[in-house]
Symmetry: C2
Subunit: 243 residues, 2 copies
DNA sequence: CGGTTCGTTGAAGTAACTCAACGGCTGTGG
DNA sequence: CCACAGCCGTTGAGTTACTTCAACGAACCG
């Protein structure tokens, strides 16, 4: 347990709802480990029963489903502060996989202890439910993209959504640039597009001057314009709580 | 409050986790009303702040998002026993709409009272979170359909999924037939297909003998075959709890 | 160096879309 | 009673957005 929850950097950036020192202490008590995993690791494997709940402390990950014939759908991307495997912990088997996109660090919370903690600190139960609902709203948004938007609109929507989330995390530089570790295959699998068409769509948006992409870093020309392309009904990302 | 929770028909069909009489009594206490609404009613309007949480007692509904230019994506369908507006109740504004597909009856639970109830009965908080997670898994499945499957596979997957859910509710007859109130426009909007193509795809599956559809009732020839068409990794729908 | 992964581009094919028209059914109002 | 409008489903024809196939260059690594 290298990093006590008291000193969690995620907490200090104002990301989480203020929780009582009492609650924080309880979380710290059940936190079992702080693990580092390399890019490509499977954090949760579909079909496994997962005895643990994780929070992503550093790095990127993604949640996905596979079809019987091997096609893959990326459901959403996970950023620091996100819970991994809430559903998996509530059901008996995970219905999806979670893979580390970059090197990651995760905090391990034993499932049983989390549930018993709820009995003592009901406020935390609300917060966990909140995080689950937030993550669901990301999937909703992605489904809307894949179901309704054209290829260019989907790419724009994905980038804008990541931009907004990273901005809340303080991971966007002053020039509107941020780390962008996705390969084009990831983007294709998230948006329900072929690899080739994803490439051509990205090229088109780049030629239009919507953004630059070099050395794993994406620089946005103008977030508002891109949001317009994505046809957003301008809804804001809600404020976030806990863990 | 015509129907006390004690006598709830949903409860009697073994659908929900056994909860203590004490918990049940608490739910009954905060239940405010039992409302009947005609088909087409908006149960939740996107953008509204919703002071209430509902449970769908009878009838069908659907949750959807609209794009700026009017395109609609149906996120998932709601059946008796499902919660309406959990996300909406946790955030300050609903990010989606919910519309009654048939005439419906809903139980009204004032939002504030639900949260305070959690403090007294933490077990219920877990159950609500469970229901939220379950609903999310439906969206995951739908996203996988829209992102990965062909039109015929999507239609098959949708029908199989509804069949499985209705079966758990005891709403499937001995001949594998069930009420099917969706118009082709609903199916199209849920699957990210055009109306015309949805029609042609349905016709094709019908010609192949996968199912019959007449007078708002769908009869499945063989659920297993349809599941095969949908390319399911045979995952079972988990057992359900509460409210 | 050769192997691997990732990005790029051209060309040909197809699944799904749009447009358009029509038939059946239901409810409404003269 | 018929006339008419509105909704839903159906079908044909032409178009397009996206897919698949194939090949190649750049970067990275053992």
């Amino acid at each position: 347990m290298q990093v006590p929850c008291y000193e969690c950097e995620l907490r200090s950036c104002g990301l989480f709802k203020r929780i009582t020192p009492d609650e924080l202490g309880s979380i710290n008590e059940i936190k079992r480990e702080h693990l580092a995993l390399p890019a490509g690791s499977e954090i949760i494997r579909a079909g496994d029963e997962s005895p643990e709940l994780y929070t992503l402390y550093a790095g990127w990950a993604f949640r996905f489903k596979m079809l019987a014939d091997g096609r893959r759908q990326i459901l959403n991307f996970l950023l620091p502060g996100d819970l991994c495997g809430l559903q998996a912990a509530m059901f008996d088997a995970a219905l999806y996989g979670i893979e580390a996109l970059t090197d990651v660090e995760i905090c391990v919370l034993p499932r049983r202890k989390v549930w018993t903690l709820f009995d003592q600190k009901p406020g935390l139960a609300f917060d966990v439910a909140w995080l689950g609902a937030h993550s669901k709203s990301l999937v909703d948004e992605n489904l809307t993209s894949v179901g309704c938007r054209t290829a260019a609109e989907r790419v724009a929507a994905l980038i804008v959504m990541l931009y907004k989330r990273l901005k809340l995390l303080g991971m966007v530089a002053a020039d509107s640039s941020f780390e962008f570790p996705l390969t084009q295959q990831h983007i294709a699998d998230a948006l329900g597009l072929s690899l080739v068409h994803t490439n051509k769509t990205l090229a088109k948006l780049r030629r239009l001057g919507m953004f630059k992409l070099a050395k794993g870093r994406l620089t946005l020309a103008n977030p508002r314009v891109l949001a317009r392309v994505a046809l957003y009904f301008d809804e804001e990302v809600p404020q976030r709580p806990l863990i």
